[in-house]
């Protein structure tokens, strides 16, 4: 029973996305299947070349890169949001599955939650 965590907030401006990732990492730590879905401005998590040193925050990109290492099953992203924010394939973290059918992703997971 895979738990899907949805991220709809962009990184750096708020902590909501980081807290969503922590949920997914915890599921993985306890060997529970998990997946991530990025929608709306949340897809900005997926852009490469993030350099937040000047803000004094840790890299969201590095934070998310740990996801597949930690055993997160799938990382989905809304294709139209990626297009809107120009998160193109060559500027996107590897391993992201684009979808144009959010409803289908939601229906395929028994437990679906936002972090906040």
């Amino acid at each position: 029973m895979t738990t899907l965590i949805i991220v709809d907030q962009p990184p750096y401006g708020s902590w909501a996305g980081r807290e969503a990732l922590d949920m997914v990492f915890s599921l993985a730590a306890f060997d529970q299947p998990s997946a991530l879905l990025f929608i709306g401005p949340g897809v900005n998590w997926l852009r490469t070349h993030q350099t937040p040193a000047e803000l004094g925050q840790k890299s969201a990109e590095k934070n998310l890169s740990a996801a597949s290492l930690f055993g997160v099953e799938s990382i989905f992203a809304d294709q139209s949001a990626c297009e809107q924010y120009r998160v193109t394939q060559e500027r996107m973290l590897p391993g992201v599955a684009l979808t144009s059918n959010i409803q289908k992703i939601l229906n395929a997971h028994n437990r679906v939650a936002f972090a906040g």
């Binding site: 909501a16 949920m23 599921l27 730590a29 306890f30 529970q32 437990r111 972090a115």
Partner: protein, 136 residues
């Protein structure tokens, strides 16, 4: 009771900022009235502020932290505050106070600080996990 359902309630937004803790309390009362069971209440993110022992609203306003604490005590429902969310936001129990050599603690009883593992466990042991988020 054949139709009894086991719930976990997750609150992710703070009182006096959002309506989430209020809606969650109304919901929780009806869960028990319907003969169901609340396995655990889990405070995550901004929700951890509900567990502050120092919240002091004006005397003509409801104290949602106190109301929640009374409800939990009365029905002996375990309530967990996510440790990572709590430490960042300055919600501290005696253990964390001494670990980090802080000047005070402010966790309201019967809330307890623990990791997201408790939430993972609730996901497994509960029939329903209901989230109460903020509105903004």
């Amino acid at each position: 009771m054949p139709n009894s359902v086991v719930y976990t309630l997750v609150i992710t937004a703070a009182p006096w900022v959002s309506q989430a803790p209020q809606t969650a309390l109304m919901f929780a009362r009806e869960v028990l009235l319907a003969g169901h069971h609340i396995d655990r209440v889990f405070l995550y993110g901004e929700g951890v502020h509900l567990a502050s022992s120092l919240s002091t609203p004006p005397s003509d306003e409801v104290n949602w932290s106190k109301e929640w604490s009374q409800f939990l005590n009365q029905h002996k429902i375990p309530a967990t505050v996510c440790i990572a969310s709590a430490l960042r936001r300055g919600i501290i129990d005696e253990t964390e106070q001494s670990r980090y050599e802080l000047a005070a603690n402010n966790l309201r009883m019967p809330f307890e600080i623990a990791g997201l593992g408790e939430w993972v466990e609730s996901n497994l042991s509960s029939d329903r996990v209901i989230y109460f988020h903020g509105a903004s």
